[in-house]
Subunit: 322 residues, 2 copies
Amino acid sequence: MTGIDLDLLRKGNRRTLAKAITLAESKLDSHRSQAQKILEQILPDTGNSIRIGVTGIPGVGKSTFIESFGLHLIAQGKKVAVLAVDPSSPIAGGSILADKTRMEELSRNNNAFIRPSPSGGALGGVAQKTRETMLLCEAAGYDVVLIETVGVGQSEFEVAGMVDFFMVLMLPNAGDELQGLKKGIVELADALVINKADGESLNLAEQTRLHYQNALQLLRHATYWTPKVMTCSARENLAIDDVWQMICDFRSAATEHDDLNSFHAKRAQQNTAWMHHLLHEMLELELKQNPAVHNEIPLLEQQVVAGTITPFTAAKKLMDML
Amino acid sequence: MTGIDLDLLRKGNRRTLAKAITLAESKLDSHRSQAQKILEQILPDTGNSIRIGVTGIPGVGKSTFIESFGLHLIAQGKKVAVLAVDPSSPIAGGSILADKTRMEELSRNNNAFIRPSPSGGALGGVAQKTRETMLLCEAAGYDVVLIETVGVGQSEFEVAGMVDFFMVLMLPNAGDELQGLKKGIVELADALVINKADGESLNLAEQTRLHYQNALQLLRHATYWTPKVMTCSARENLAIDDVWQMICDFRSAATEHDDLNSFHAKRAQQNTAWMHHLLHEMLELELKQNPAVHNEIPLLEQQVVAGTITPFTAAKKLMDML
């Protein structure tokens, strides 16, 4: 008994969906194992959305973009879920992502479901909870899942590992905001979207687009998808439809493409990689629950840093304690 | 008793060094544990070289570059070790890297020590053996350790994790060879060096340099070191001294710099990361030595791919078997 009516969930009942997510995010083991049972049962109903990662530093206009983009999708007949991965969000709310007050119109729409970042914890961390929430939203019939991050930490790499399409929002200033973006993120992107391309910034936005276009052409491989660089204005609702069209083009290309990068192969690879990641976390947790090992790790790290012991010997000592 | 005279090793005796490396590379546990004892004893004598990774696709002129660069260093009074990380090298020789016949003059020089890639195997794989060989070479008084890879696989990331300076050799053709380089490698580089900048290729090489310079400026963070883009000709011995000067500049900047990216902080971080990597490998090995688990992993992977089980449940099932 999980107390969750799966048929209601599959019909898209918002209260039921919210309750299921709350179980998955709970700190209580009993709640989380209930959530696992639910996930096992709804697994055949998942996977039918397109999963889109959206990142960018604060100030780039993520909330405005997601509001505008989400409303556009809903106007096309889609149901849209917005989730956040924000490792910095404190335990009691306060997440700066997926903030309903900043997506006013979207949050009031019946075809949108907005869920702020869960608060850390448990195996797999926020990424695991976000994956579970994504599956629950898919079972509830959401066609598009947007996963939002702030672009300054490790979580972008985690999100790129759970979505079909990864998009970085930029400002029209030709590179300055890269100072804030974590290294390697631009290379992860399937598209760079320069927001705030309106009014007096139009020219600058176009220059910025050309710059990034050149940079990506130089640094990228040829595959079936060359990362796109686009401009849009979420505030003025300009070219938002082009962004969606691009993602549809990507999905067509990726679905037709028959290799390790294809749409389904990528998801399969993401899932097995995540299984191994969780296995590592579980093993490490076991290890750290051994008090002797737990105390020894920082001491051995110090010796490795001081150069009085090799990393190999240090690792071996830890293993021998088991 | 390891049969290795450590004083001779410290004096740079080549036969002793070669014997110690052979112990470390051995497939016999007893040999490898002897090697570990040696490493523990020589650890205070290590760390005094500058460790340089050199990568680039076949045809870029790695052997010619290393020959020319190595001889330049020796002319400056340095002792140079050249190691290779080539995961594709078959068990019985045949490595295409650190090939002495392709570095004829260097390989005959008393101040150079060239060692082809070890053949796979054991914990930590080729990367672990290369780390051990690097330490042995440092104890034997080598001032510069060059670690060579082919730029097409995972090993570049491993090498970037064990060197102070990571350099990617390029051809003067403005981006075409990136088709062969693994994604993300250019972003790892502390320098791109465009080789074969001679004769009719001089103009093209300069164009290529400007292109990459622009691309890196757009995609890089500001730190104490902005990755450099240079041209040289190993065959004509042009600007090889500039490459060395650049690395000396890097070392000065990195040594003066007092943060997480500084010279010693980076090495400390590399070593603790490697300790954790080895610990993971050891745990996974333990896991796989459990025959039930070993058989179950591919089955669970299939179910994860088929979408009949979540990655979390799969990982948990494996853990429950222990």
